[in-house]
Assembly symmetry: C2
Homo-oligomer: 489 residues x 2
């Protein structure tokens, strides 16, 4: 029988039984107590270590449960053959050498996707999380509802009705880990090989997701979108638009729009045009509109613009929303609202998919909404973003190199024309070289041809302010001053 | 100026300033303090309520931040027009009436996907979560790495190497919210319109995901999988297999297998056959093998079967793993290991996708792995599942209606032949009517034709024991006894 001496001093926070367990486990793993060896009885070891017998029993129970030792009735405890056990300690402890990645931490990140991370109510989030982990326990491990927890979907339906005029029930809502995942589901739901019209410039991620998942994408110029001829589009060639894949000339039955706040232009679609879209969709059974309502929570002047879905009387709008802007992109929670006509098809074609949002995350978010924290957070953030918006706008207006500013009074970025001889790409390149993460309008040109072909358009920069404080904005603008003035010399 | 009386008694946990804030907010929302009305000065209200002035200031600050009041210099605080604010209280509070869903709570759920939720170390998980929410804060809201946090991927690489012999670096790992999402990415990565061979019976979810995302799926009988002719398959018609979509006869360049523990049969692929698969894949550039290593953590006899990837010398295996079995399906964390040859293509075609696992979840899991909790949990669960396995096996062997039992000594379910005149569907239907959630082998028949055509095969039931305790197993078996005996009368 082996003798066991455990150092029970130091590291006061670890319970005694854990120290004994750890010590014996290491001795077994490293071969100092060999396979088949008998351990001292709990009574003997407790006496040697001057701890209670139950402390030793707890340590032995742990070792038993994890397969390091076995109990033989009336004989005692013996060390097992541990060659089949997982002992990852060595590998797990290695400190990962993360490859250098562009992080923008050192400089200024004008990304239009960045959100304010300073004012998030972490204390509330932590409290909700702790309560859920204490109270719900096993429910958290159940696979849960494929569309998402009913309570959360119901709370989202309530929020959407109040804030966006969206008319829906919880049964129409499908949660997903981000817009792109839901867009992949839409392709499966509505069928691959279809043609969808998208505004250009627009969200490159949505464009690439649709292409990647199997839709032909045709583009039309945002703003000119609703010209008289658009709903009659039948073949890509006729309009000279760029098609993502060779299309057989199928009539576009789908249109993707951002009517309340177009990205990246920031325009709002007039009501009359919305009605035209809706009546176009109502003409044929398989026509649908996808409304991406990405950041309409943040509008700083006037009342919120109602959603397209709120005016839909024929069940033609698939509404797509996200918590990426209103809380944070890292949350990875988006949702789509399916019109009733698509629900049966969804259950048949996509009903077998598990929800992609962890159940714990859903429960936290549910309580965050239910208890009014989301509403308070939104109202507070709108004030904070408005101050940032006003500050950036004021700073820009002082500058002679700043031309037309658009997309103001809503969202989390401004679109700024720059008076310079540099082309947009060169301007962005120089900014990046100085540590400024910035994008130009042409990066959201889905056809990737606009400014390069026509030439001579002034650069237009997207200045996102969501993630920046005033000092950071000032520093970023000072560097842009420098770059533009250098060029003028 | 309005007079404000706040009840500061009761609900002792809420800070005073919160009570004042709440009271005034409700007064404004419900119109009792009208728009434009002046609020009392902080000094006056503090005096009236007998609280400190800073308490009132905090309440006013909150109201200011959320847009309920505005401050006018030298004049005081005035109530805003709140028609544009979010006030969701009413809707959010409604108690959702969740529609009745089949939950299996009342009866016995023999699902092969269920896991033990009783022994999960919630206390540790909660502690890690609380620490992260306290320490990391703003990092949790950053969008994070598109493939997943580097530290977690590195820890997974370490685990896979130690436990499964998988040879990979963190850069080859892509995290995703479940296997199905990663399978959709695989289709985009390797190209739609391709033909993939799958064993039958198999995972219906993987089958449906591949079909839905755009691959032609051909089936071959599991077990007969590696017959001499299989790698030369060229057109579906020749083999009489079922094709998921009309295929142009493209040669299958992809094979999906579960070599370490076939689902649902529970078989292990012999080493020689693995080598044949690998050398078949090595013959052509665009041939790849998808290894779904879904539950190989749990093997109760002998050493773990090494992964197919561990024997791959030509970079032909895409390894797919999940925490759904080893922790819980609700976690929604899976990962794929791409061979180096596919990495550049992944970055080009799929690099724009955001990771679908929330950053907080990733950080928790990273620490759970890094600090050895995962290893301990696995070793402990293996012991617990082994006891459940042995118990169920013992109970089954006592029963005359139980024929051949297969798939034992690994995973979380047994495959049990039932001696009865009933067909499988009828048996499962009757079990469901008695509250037993159970599935038969034919439900995993991807061609949906096998037993119905040939007729006369004895029912084979999948008895999952992961989520059941001994009492529940006994109760479930007693009901099965009753159903089978009723039929014999």
């Amino acid at each position: 029988m082996t003798e066991i001496m455990v150092d029970l001093e130091g590291e006061g926070k670890i319970p005694l039984y854990e120290k004994i367990y750890h010590h014996i486990r290491i001795e077994i793993v490293e071969g100092r107590i060999p396979r088949g060896e008998k351990l001292p009885s709990t009574r003997l070891l407790a006496g040697n270590l001057a701890v209670s017998r139950s402390t030793v029993e707890m340590a032995y129970d742990q070792l038993l449960a994890e397969g390091y030792i076995r109990a033989e009735p009336c004989r005692g405890f013996f060390v097992c053959d541990i060659s089949g056990l997982y002992q990852t300690g060595g590998q797990m402890q290695r400190s990962p050498e993360e490859p250098e990645r562009e992080k923008g931490r050192a400089g200024t990140d004008f990304s239009p996707y960045a959100v304010d991370t300073e004012h998030f109510p972490f204390a509330i989030w932590r409290k909700i999380t702790a309560n859920i982990l204490a109270d719900e326990r096993e429910e958290l491990l159940d696979a849960g509802d494929g569309q998402g927890e009913y309570g959360l979907r119901d709370a989202i339906a309530g929020y959407l009705h109040q804030a966006r005029g969206v008319v829906c029930s919880a049964s129409q809502i499908v949660l997903g880990a981000g817009n792109e995942y839901l867009e992949m589901l839409m392709v499966q739901l509505l069928g691959r090989g279809r043609t969808i019209l998208m505004e250009n410039p627009g969200y490159t991620q949505a464009y690439r997701t649709f292409c990647g998942a199997g839709w032909h994408v045709e583009l039309f110029s945002a703003g000119e979108a609703l010209s008289a001829e658009f709903p009659t589009v039948s073949a890509p060639a006729e309009r000279g638009t760029v098609s993502a894949a060779a299309s057989g000339g199928e009539e576009a039955g789908l249109i993707y729009v951002m009517p309340s706040h177009q990205f990246p232009l920031g325009t709002v679609m007039p009501f009359r045009e919305r009605l035209r879209l809706l009546s176009w969709a109502a003409e044929k059974e398989e026509r649908f509109l996808i409304e991406d309502d990405h950041d309409s929570e943040f509008r700083y002047r006037g009342k919120p613009v109602p959603s397209l879905q709120s005016a839909d009387r024929h069940g033609k709008v698939i509404y797509l929303g996200t918590f990426s802007k209103s809380i944070a992109p890292s949350l990875r929670v988006s949702y789509m609202v399916l019109p009733p006509v698509l629900l049966e098809r969804y259950h048949r074609k996509c009903g077998f998919y598990s929800v992609t949002v962890p159940v714990m995350q859903q429960k936290i978010l549910h309580i965050f909404l239910r208890e009014g924290h989301f509403e308070r957070h939104l109202n507070r953030m709108r004030g904070i973003y408005r101050v940032k918006h006003d500050f950036l706008l004021g700073e820009l207006k002082k500058r002679s190199w700043v031309g037309k500013i658009s997309g103001d009074h809503a969202g989390l970025h401004l679109l700024v024309e720059v008076r310079t001889e540099m082309d947009e790409r060169e301007l962005c390149r120089r900014a990046r070289a100085e540590g400024i993460i910035i994008s130009g309008l042409s990066q959201y040109d889905l056809s990737r041809g606009c400014c390069e072909k026509t030439g001579g358009c002034a650069p237009q920069l997207l200045l996102g302010y969501g993630g920046l404080n005033e000092t950071e904005m000032k520093r970023g603008l000072a560097i842009l001053d420098y770059i533009v003035e250098e060029e003028q010399k």
